[in-house]
């Protein structure tokens, strides 16, 4: 019997898991997918927003600014990438220019400490690749970018070090409300008994809510597509570039990533179902059009990958983070779309505060608050490389040439704390197959490594989820 079961291993679930792991009690986190962070957390811009955009007084605004403040320290403690880019909101028309003034006021009211209005000249001096037709900008130095699933993974690993049990491939099918506890039933897995439930299910949090409550909230998936321009264009812009926001959202942005790639997107399109995360010709063209408005020099030829993410939007457009009105020790987090990534560390603390109002939480005595990431071998220092290679010679074998990932780096992920056993999981962790050739050289070699580490046949290794084997069968040997 667990004290708390967290459903969902996205950035929100991970942040909550970490905070909760500092307190006494048995906690378990379940994730329906074959790997962590396969929902919204894996397909977004990775921006830690300043807090200029959310409505004044909203929960989004409060938690966004608080979360932004927490990230620098968190990135140091948990050793995940954080790029302190700063941001510019750029205006191209007189109307947009006056909107900037509104944003300035809004940001101030939300508690954003560093903001400045820049002239056209000052803006172009900072970012010469922007279109010269711009009229001015709003500078937001506290904006940063991160790699969301790395931040999420870091939080989860820290939580595991403090006693969290993580279970992958656990898709919640139904929840039976018992006298003093809950019986959570899964597809193809034995049920788990728990005293409390924290629903951090992202796109599907409305469905989990539906299993427990009468008052329901509906999630409206809104899709956003992206271009990923290769790290060859690093330096094209150094800050996150926002257009002036509209009713649909923040608009098509240019986001420099910690690994050097440049994300361009997203657009915003309401879709009818939660599986509709595909890229479309129309969507991509729309992004190009909007982005060229920011800079007509954008080198789209350097695109190495297109992808799409879905945002969990709800009516009212603010975070819904509340305890259940009906069920004891149940907390629902619904509609945590942008600035969810930014707010996540603050959401973790907010949920702890909610829980503390309902029952006493005792801090654990020996808690680990830090966690270190193994640097990919070829990015490490010469001395470390020598040591590491002597201990594990497989570090010397380069597997992913485009992103410089060694065989041992991959083995570490397959056999690590949170095992990565599909091609997609390896790609997420190491960036192997995510570079220029998209796995043309290394995919088959990664397959061989996963198969040998997990004692499987090559045809049993999945591309993504269960039942997506890359190879269908070994070629026939007739009798």
């Amino acid at each position: 019997m667990y004290d708390y079961l967290i459903i969902g291993s996205g950035i929100v679930g991970s942040a909550i898991a970490r905070e909760l792991s500092f307190f006494e009690g048995a906690i378990c986190l379940v994730e329906k997918s074959s790997d962590i962070t396969n929902g919204q957390t894996i397909a977004n811009s990775g921006i830690i927003h300043s807090g200029h955009d959310p409505k004044v007084g909203s929960l989004k605004a409060r938690l966004c600014v608080k979360g932004n403040d927490l990230y620098e320290n968190l990135a140091l403690k948990l050793d995940f990438p954080l790029l302190k880019t700063g941001a510019l909101v750029v205006a191209f028309t007189e109307e947009e220019l006056s909107n900037l003034d509104e944003l300035f006021v809004r940001a101030r009211k939300n508690g954003v400490k560093e903001i400045a209005r820049l002239t056209k000249e000052e803006t172009l001096k900072l970012e010469p690749n922007l279109n010269e037709t711009l009229l001015g900008s709003l500078s937001l130095p506290s904006t940063k970018t991160t790699v969301p699933w790395e931040a999420s993974r870091a939080m989860l690993e820290n939580a595991i070090a403090n006693g969290l049990t993580l279970k992958l491939n656990h898709e919640v099918k139904e929840i039976n409300i018992k006298e003093n506890y809950y019986e959570v039933c899964f597809k193809n897995q034995p049920p788990i008994l728990t005293k409390g439930i924290i629903n951090a299910c992202g796109l599907f949090s409305d469905e989990i809510m539906g299993m427990l409550e009468d008052d329901l909230i509906q999630i409206y998936p809104r899709r956003g597509e992206y271009y990923t321009l290769s790290h060859g264009v690093k330096g094209f812009v150094s800050k996150v570039i926002y257009p002036v926001p509209s009713s649909l959202g923040k608009g098509v942005l240019m986001t420099p990533q910690p690994d050097g790639h440049l994300l361009v997107g997203p657009n915003a399109e309401d879709v009818s179902n939660k599986e509709d995360n595909q890229t479309t010709i129309k969507g991509l063209n729309e992004i190009k059009k909007q982005a060229l408005r920011l800079s007509n020099k954008l080198p789209f030829k350097e695109n190495i990958k297109n992808f799409a993410g879905l945002r969990a939007k709800i009516k009212g457009d603010d975070f819904y983070i509340n305890r259940s009105t009906k069920n004891k020790n149940v907390y629902h987090l619904v509609g945590i779309d942008s600035p969810g990534l930014t707010a996540a560390p603050a959401i973790g603390k907010y949920v702890i505060d909610l829980i503390k109002e309902d029952q006493a939480l005792r801090k654990k005595l020996n808690v680990v608050e830090t966690r270190t990431r193994l640097v990919p071998f070829f990015l490490d220092t010469k001395d470390n490389q020598k040591k590491r290679w002597l201990e594990h010679p497989s570090y010397g074998e380069l597997v992913c040439r485009c992103e410089r990932i060694s065989k041992q780096d991959i083995i570490n992920e397959v056999t690590g704390l949170i095992p990565a056993t599909s091609i997609k999981a390896i790609k997420k962790r190491t960036r192997a197959t995510a570079g220029l050739c998209q796995g043309g050289y290394c995919e088959s070699r990664i397959l061989e490594i996963i198969a040998s580490c997990t004692n499987k046949e090559l045809s049993e290794v999945n591309y993504y989820e269960e039942d997506t084997p890359i190879l269908i069968k070994e070629m026939k040997v007739e009798k």
Binding site: N303, N306, R401, C402, G440, S444, T468, I470
Partner: protein, 418 residues
């Protein structure tokens, strides 16, 4: 120890250039990341290699074997070794190597030949929309899975691109029991060698849809079907007449791109059409002692031409090392008219012009008969009649060294007869 020539990449180009850079007393090192030499030839189990070079019809592995046997024992071959970084400092090249056996270490060399081959154009580079589904492969990776690992990648296949790799895979998969539903080609003529259209498609009644492309992929986690659309003369998909083909596998055979990321730090100018760096007639780049040949210089259709090109690059590297004095270059561009998409080499260095040399080129459109003229300052110095010139088949013209009367640019012009 400082090497005289280091060859990066041990495929057809690397082997030939290593062999030809050797002379007694010179230290040559051939570096290959795989556990065997031969490069892509090892997975090309079909025949058709060596018709020009050996006057024989060989399979890829057989060609690889023959060229390897010609390597001199004195050439140091490093297998399972990758080059992580290439730099030039004080007239010497610094190569950072890595292998399981030796870890990371650096070596120095007077000259370097890049023969790192190419990589396949990816789904993102052709902006094929839709979900990330299992079942979408580049044709070459499917070829590796089948021919080297022995696994089928699917049962019902659609192939995008009628390039040779796609055609060969159409045949290969059919022979192994898969149903190849169609080959879809964007252009109005096929891209592959004519013989492959016949022996890979016609033999098996596999339909070829010219002037069509794939506009969507359908499925949840695994591929279920593709949406095919006709394209207009600007290659834009038309809305009317879209249709679906059921399949569990989509092979992308949409072109190869030279692999030259090792040269990123040198910031060299690139040829927009070949997608590689610029070279002169000795296959030397603008960096002294740095040569490029094979698929990393321009995508070839025949390995025989790769061997020929690499021979010259190897000899040029050797000459560079032996003639210690550096002389200033005297380079002029090779110009060409609108009938050609590119020429290689892009420049002629008159200061080291001692031999006849070849210019490779491709025509932009299919021509039944053309006359190719080479001019230097209004004087015609060469002409060659070519029948059946196709964009998918590289052509060559030899320029005799003696025919050049000055150091002015040469220009290649095409007269279309039919």
């Amino acid at each position: 120890m400082i090497y005289d020539v280091c060859v990066i990449g041990g495929g057809a180009a690397g082997i030939a250039s290593a062999k030809n850079s050797y002379e007694e007393g010179l230290k040559i090192r051939l570096i290959e990341r795989n556990n065997e030499l031969g490069g892509i030839l090892n997975q090309c189990i079909h025949s058709g290699f060596g018709i020009h070079h050996y006057i024989a019809e060989l399979t890829g592995p057989e060609y690889a074997d023959r060229i390897q046997n010609e390597l001199f024992d004195e050439i140091e071959v490093s297998l399972k070794t990758s080059v992580i970084k290439l730099e030039k400092q004080n007239n010497l090249f610094c190569l950072t190597l890595s292998s399981e056996k030796e870890g990371i270490y650096t070596i120095k060399s007077r000259a370097v030949i890049i023969s790192t081959g190419s990589y396949e154009r990816t789904r993102s580079q052709i902006e094929l929309p839709g979900k990330r589904l299992k079942g979408i492969f580049t044709a070459g990776s499917a070829q590796r899975y089948m021919n080297q690992l022995g696994y089928m990648v699917g049962k019902k296949v659609v192939i995008l691109g009628s390039g040779d790799i796609g055609l060969i895979m159409a045949r290969r998969m059919t022979l192994e029991g898969a149903k190849v539903q169609a080959v879809i080609e964007l252009m109005k003529h096929s891209n592959g060698l004519t013989r492959n259209i016949v022996s890979c498609l016609e033999d098996f009644d596999i339909p070829l849809y010219l002037s069509h492309t794939i506009t969507d992929v359908i499925g949840d986690t695994c591929l279920k079907a593709v949406e095919v659309s006709k394209v207009d003369e600007h290659l834009k998909p038309l809305e009317e007449g879209k249709f679906r083909i059921e399949c569990d596998t989509l092979l992308l055979s949409v072109g190869l791109i030279p692999e030259i990321s090792l040269l990123d730090d040198f910031n060299l100018d690139k040829d927009k059409k070949t997608k590689s760096v610029l070279v002169n007639q000795t296959y030397q780049t603008s960096v002294d002692g740095l040569f490029v040949c094979g698929n990393s210089l321009q995508i070839h259709d025949l390995v025989d031409f790769v061997s020929k090109e690499a021979e010259i690059a190897g000899r040029s590297a050797r000459n560079y090392v032996l003639n210690n004095e550096k002389h200033p270059r005297d380079e002029q561009d090779v110009l060409f008219d609108e009938h050609l998409s590119y020429v290689v080499p892009q420049q002629i260095d008159f200061s080291i012009l001692k031999d006849d040399f070849e210019v490779s080129f491709r025509v932009k459109e299919k021509y039944e008969e053309i006359n190719v003229f080479v001019y230097q300052e209004d004087k015609q110095i060469k002409n060659k009649r070519i029948k059946f010139a196709l964009p998918s088949e590289m052509e060559k013209i030899t320029i005799e060294q003696g025919s050049l009367s000055s150091k002015a640019s040469i220009k290649i012009m095409v007269e279309v007869i039919k």
